[in-house]
């Protein structure tokens, strides 16, 4: 995978990479994708994909209100919070 593509995909995935990681991952990707290319040689023209192996049916349940976790518990692991809220950097510019 060329570095331009790697940068683009890492940006979509929202993962910051250090330059030494870019070298390593780019090398590994080449190996993996080359490997994966062997898959394309197999004829699967008339085959349907299997995403879920078992129990491939839609599951429905009644729309009932259940108890949810207390807010304190939910916020317990938050790296930054304010009152009853998770705090994040400003999203909308002034």
């Amino acid at each position: 995978m060329d570095k331009g593509t790697l940068y683009r995909v890492a940006d979509i995935a929202h993962v910051h990479l250090e330059s030494r990681e870019i070298e390593q991952i780019s090398k590994d990707m080449d190996f993996l994708l080359e490997y994966f290319d062997k898959l394309s040689q197999v004829d699967t023209e008339s085959v349907l994909p299997t995403v879920c192996p078992i129990n491939d049916k839609n599951v429905l349940r009644d729309d009932e209100v259940w108890d949810s976790l207390p807010i304190d518990e939910v916020l317990k692991n938050a790296p930054d919070k304010h009152g009853r809220f998770f705090r994040v950097p400003r999203i909308i510019e002034e």
Partner: protein, 481 residues
Amino acid sequence: MLELDKLTIHKAHELLSKKEITSEELTKALLKRIEEMDGKIKAYVTLNSEEALERSSEIDKKGDFTEDLSGIPVAVKDNICTKDLRTTCASKMLENFVPPYDATVIKKLKEKNALILGKTNLDEFDMGSSTESSYFFTSKNPWNLERVPGGSSSAAAVAADLAIYSLDSDTGGAVRQSAAYCGVVGLKPTYGRVSRFGLAGNAGSMDTIGPITKDVKDCAIVLNAISGMDLFDPSSSDTIVPDYLESLKTNLQNVKIGIPKEFLGDAVNKDIKNAILNAAKTFEDMGFICEETSLPNVEYALWVHYVIASAEASSEMCQYDGVRFGHRAQHYENLKDLYKKSRGEGFGLEVKKRTILGTYLLDLEGNDKYLVKAYKLRTLIKQDFEKAFEKYDFLITPTTPTVAFKIGEAKDSLNVNDMCTVPVNLAGLPAISIPCGFAEGLPIGLQIIGKAFDEAGILQVAYAFERNTDYHKKLIAWKEA
């Protein structure tokens, strides 16, 4: 003298019921053993000593040991959420994460009065086969401390008598592979048999939770406790759950076993191949029919699994954003930068690689070319199994093509050691690994694969094998690294 740490669940249950031992004594014996031995094995990421002791004395006071698991300590892989007990997925990202809720399997065990002894190590977010990508440390194989314990240290904990049994997860083989490497029993249930609610997801269409135990009977006991439909996990199945322990009493007749030749080829070590053929001979001596069969498309399974696992993992990893829980970077410029830096700092290399590869596979370019192709090949692999099961009741294979490899020896992400286990996850089938021999002084695992939801069947066959052999009784000769 009775060594309490060496007990099986069923033996401990018998002694607890007769009041010959107490749960507190059992828990203390295990904690002592951990104190003595875990410095060598490094199986536990977090211990829950105080609470386990407290709970054990409460259970002793009540004195109700009707449940099979009552008062018996369990080790839990550290990607299964335990309320108020740190759950790290062996990642810096979750180094300080303390879940506010229990996974369904933990809830079920607690309802049976089980005691959580501690949390065991894994590869970071379960991406690997050796625990070497754990943020904390690499765990060791108790049979040889220079060797890996498998993709989780739960089996090492059970084999080294640091736990009576453990709960583990299996996406590409961790339960079975680590059980095989450490000479214990590990069962991966059918996809949907056991709820995954509260399991930190790795690959949603393949993740399962299963027990690792010292013998087959224990495995049936734990499976009884954790199986069944769960409203919190839409992939869980409402298929009837039989009494697995009771089903062990069934006398097996007219059993037909297929031996897929693809798992006995050149990639498989000669001693392991012989052990599997010997196992087939044991089955034949019991009156079972064993025949060679073929699963022609499993040769693609490693690639197909890696493609699907990466794609599914990348969407799982999105939840780690440094906002609601987990690691947050200290320095960032805006929200997007917060996500990027938090993941950049919180994830190790293998997790980053799979997240990025998975994103590429879900993106237009990679999707058609690789991901859809992989899901189509998965259909072919699944059909191979279906065809084999028209003729055979069970399939047997080695669990791994070699015994536990040396620490530092795994060369790349596509580990050939997973070749016998990943096809089973792709097809969603149940499989058990049981000890069936030794090579280089290390245990060999026999994998028995069954039809969907026939856990009872594979347990029966495994139990029949266990009663006719004594591989599971062989003790570890401690060897210093």
